[in-house]
Symmetry: C2
Subunit: 189 residues, 2 copies
């Protein structure tokens, strides 16, 4: 089948959606981010890519911490809102109930099924974005989101994003067991 | 509701699954990666986090390029297999049909709905992983995976991963329009 070349502004499918929290100018602030990934195994580290113009960046540079909060479907409207308006001219500190763990100036979101507090490890300066890498030092979850002691994606009920069509999606049915279903191919190979 | 603290080895939900391609010791090699994210808007850049022990790392360091290939559900078994065995002792060059774009030594996967070729921009050295950041210089797709000129997640049919329970999932039904549904909340705020 013939392949065509499309815009280099391409994406992975689908992208997880998180709310990144910090304190800027003495006020809790949250921004919606889908450019996020684990980046180191031990110690556990996570990275978030933020356009340099964002209000949040100032807070992360100052506090040397940030939080990563995973919203469930009941927060989809508020989460989308946090990506529409800037903390520069809108107070986003009252949208959610917040709590703190062990790091100062690192607000997490009470309504989010899973919240991580992170210590800034490095800020990688890229042409239009800063990629903030943080060591995950605390992870908070309610027991109702766990199955056999592990976070359960259907209980969390996240809404991953696709770009450039800009849609959120539900997570669907089970597709297979990882580090397992490939063994059948291995046996044949 | 009471929150409990769980292991700091936490993840985002769900994680996109890709196959990262390179040439190592004159042989095409592919590794399964779920720690992947866009990291820069302009020029478009993508990052992949690979444990330092992986065979792929040598190829990326030598060639200064890599590919990111998004597999569909028909490749779930082969994709899982590529995460089970190392190119050090297993030839993974014949699992897929490969093609190349404009970059030398950067094999892409014919059977994957969407493939990107990337020039290495930087290799961020972390404690147990290297985070390879590449500029996306070519994106290849078949028209049958597009709707209105944009990649369609249900036509691609990816299988995002969750950890630490290690399951793949289908992408489910539409949940909302991004940069849009938050406007209703804004109106009320």
């Amino acid at each position: 089948m013939a392949r065509i070349k499309i815009s280099a502004n391409a994406f992975v499918y689908p992208m997880p959606v998180v709310l990144v929290g910090t304190v800027v100018e003495n006020r809790a602030n949250f921004i919606t981010v889908a450019w996020v990934s684990r980046v180191n195994y031990n110690p556990p580290m996570i990275g978030v890519a933020l356009g340099k113009i964002h209000h949040t960046n100032q807070g992360i540079h100052e506090n040397k911490t940030f939080s990563v909060n995973i919203p469930g479907m009941d927060l989809i409207q508020k989460t989308d809102y946090c990506g529409l308006v800037s903390g520069k001219d809108t107070d986003k500190s009252k949208i959610f109930k917040t709590f703190t763990g062990e790091l100062a100036n690192t607000p997490m979101i009470e309504e989010c099924p899973l919240c991580m507090e992170c210590k800034l490890f490095s800020a990688v300066d890229l042409p239009s974005n800063t990629f903030f890498i943080g060591e995950i030092t605390g992870v908070y979850v309610e027991e109702r989101f766990l199955t056999d002691g592990k976070p359960d994606v259907h209980k969390i009920d996240p809404f991953p994003l696709t770009m450039p069509d800009n849609h959120y999606w539900k997570v669907g049915s089970h597709a297979g067991k990882a580090w397992a279903i490939g063994k059948d191919f291995k046996a044949k190979a």
